[in-house]
Symmetry: C2
């Protein structure tokens, strides 16, 4: 066989092989359920319908890819926030690590209670106590040093209830939702009240969200030279609180467009969802309701349960959601499984 005909033949074989792969992939793609951990029901239907009408070029509600912005709260929306926000647990652990350098903490509150192991007394000091602990543990180092401290903590810290790493305490249905939106041309952002530099070291690995798509609260930084190199040093001074009104403000500041879809779970997300829904055309606003006492924990007034110290979902937020066609996701009824480590068959709820 001449080398030309051999080349042509191998090209034909390549062509056939390629086409077979393309067809198989297209078929698999058309058949697979993109949200396998979601029960059939109104929440799943709302997501699928929303993506269909905004991405189908023949739809009157079509939105070009560059405007497909989706924003997600983190604590309580993408991962668990109970019994305490992970960043607060991180701060409490850091106090213990730093205590030898701070002999004065043995007698000064809120540190003294914490070092005696009394978390309840520590937190009794409220916002001021928490702020003191955050500033004492989150400032003084460069931004790069802080990122390493967070990574080291996450590598060994365990969730107090399940004993699992925090990065496993994420919601499987929300991971599927993130993937599904991205597969349909959406750009996914985190917009969280937690510290932006506490989240960035791990969001890319855990959620597929790169640092530049993570928005959060922050402390001020200062440009300095350290060890002969320029660096940003974290200062014990609040820069921005990314909660409530802060969320639409930071979205405008850093993204510069109204989201097409927004996802939250508490009163801190109310303004972000209002801002999203008040944009022109079809928009999706969704709230995760923590009503699954068996698989996670049920909390908050919207469930008829007492106020929780984290992630309050008030009755007034619930009413606003219902009045404005926001989607309220019941973890108990809408999710086949909650965490990636559960067997999918662990739920008996079928609607």
């Amino acid at each position: 066989m001449s080398s030309v005909s051999a080349m042509l033949r191998s090209t034909r074989v390549m062509g056939l092989g390629l086409c077979a792969v393309v067809l198989l992939f297209a078929q698999a793609h058309a058949q697979a359920d993109p949200l396998p951990s979601w029960h059939e029901g109104p929440a799943k239907r709302a997501i699928l319908d929303f993506v269909k009408v905004t991405t189908d070029q023949t739809s009157p509600d079509y939105v070009p890819p560059e405007a497909r912005i989706a924003t997600f709260d983190n604590d309580g929306t993408l991962w668990t926030e109970q019994p305490l926000y992970a960043q607060l647990l991180f701060a409490l652990d850091r106090v213990k690590v730093l205590a030898p350098q701070h002999p004065e903490w043995k007698t000064e509150e809120p540190f003294a209670s914490l070092l005696k192991g009394d978390v309840k007394a520590t937190l009794a000091g409220g916002t001021r106590a928490i702020s003191e602990i955050l500033m004492a543990t989150h400032a003084g180092m460069t931004t790069e040093e802080f990122a390493r401290i967070v990574q080291d903590w996450l590598a060994t810290a365990k969730h107090p209830k399940t004993g699992r790493p925090y990065t496993e305490m994420v919601y499987q249905p929300m991971l599927e939702l993130l993937d599904y939106l991205r597969a349909n041309g959406f750009k996914t952002f985190i917009v969280s009240g937690s510290g932006v530099e506490f989240m960035r070291p791990w969001t890319e690995t855990v959620y597929g969200i790169p640092p530049e798509q993570v928005i959060g609260s922050s402390i001020k930084t200062q440009f300095e030279r350290r060890d002969g190199k320029s660096a940003l040093v974290r200062r014990p001074e609040v820069n921005f609180i990314d909660d409530k009104e802060g969320k639409p403000i930071s979205i405008n500041q850093q993204i510069g467009r109204r989201p097409l879809a927004a996802f939250g779970n508490s009163d801190g997300d109310r303004q972000m969802l209002e801002y999203t829904k008040d944009g022109d055309g079809v928009r999706l606003a969704m709230l995760v309701l923590h009503d699954d006492a068996a698989r996670e924990i049920a909390y908050g007034p919207a469930n008829g349960l007492p106020e929780s110290h984290v992630g309050a979902f008030s009755q007034s937020l619930y009413d606003e959601a219902k009045q404005n066609s926001w989607v309220v996701v019941s973890m108990k009824k809408d999710w086949k499984r909650v965490f990636p480590f559960e067997h999918q068959s662990s739920s008996s709820h079928v609607r």
Copy 2:
């Protein structure tokens, strides 16, 4: 012919056609000069070498795509900043439009001089006068209203020297550089002292840079209801000045990584370039030197010329660049053409 063999045959034809296209494209890609408006020389060589070593997987300096962050100053780096920053000309035009609603401006400075047509006297008031003009023209409306005002202005405003729209006063070699970096997996950002909401309405069309990759100075916004819908209203209060130390601070705040490459043209970019070069591994820092009196304008002490009221490129910045292997781009010697509307043959400079 059976339908099966017809299908197989058409598949073979498709395969052959596809391969031919792939080969042709690969060849064209390998042969085309990605920077046709750059003369051969040290600046072009530095760019090509940098991209090669950071994107070649076999290179010891290889950087994965997600860390390929490139930041660009705007005024004087991507488009002209002479005779005045575009945003300042926009503000001066807005004073004239808004004057009927402000009869007091007829006697109050800096407005009175401006309305008499005396720009020099207007700007003699310095930073304070400019700040008053900016606040009077940039606040009070929603962010969406402001974006429309900017778009309307750009649609009709002409550059005072060339009579061309501002969006044509961009540097052709830098447009090529943006495309070239993106084609090699870099994410391109603007990091400018100009107002972020003045730039976002047009950066996607002009530079291919979406709003969420534009960082700039900002005024505060307030979350309100306007006409029954939630909106962000611009307030006459500075939020952040994105210049000098502000640039690495905003890069960390919004991107969360040190850039791999940074491009500027004045002392306002010094800290951004230091921050970039002080990262680990190979980095590229580049300054555009405005030394082309024939095709643009030559200005600044680094050229042995007097201080300009915009875009100062000091001798000390020039010295720092030379000491630290930053690349200084001579517009006169390194660029075949400056603006897209020029014929490529307009330059007689060959090195």
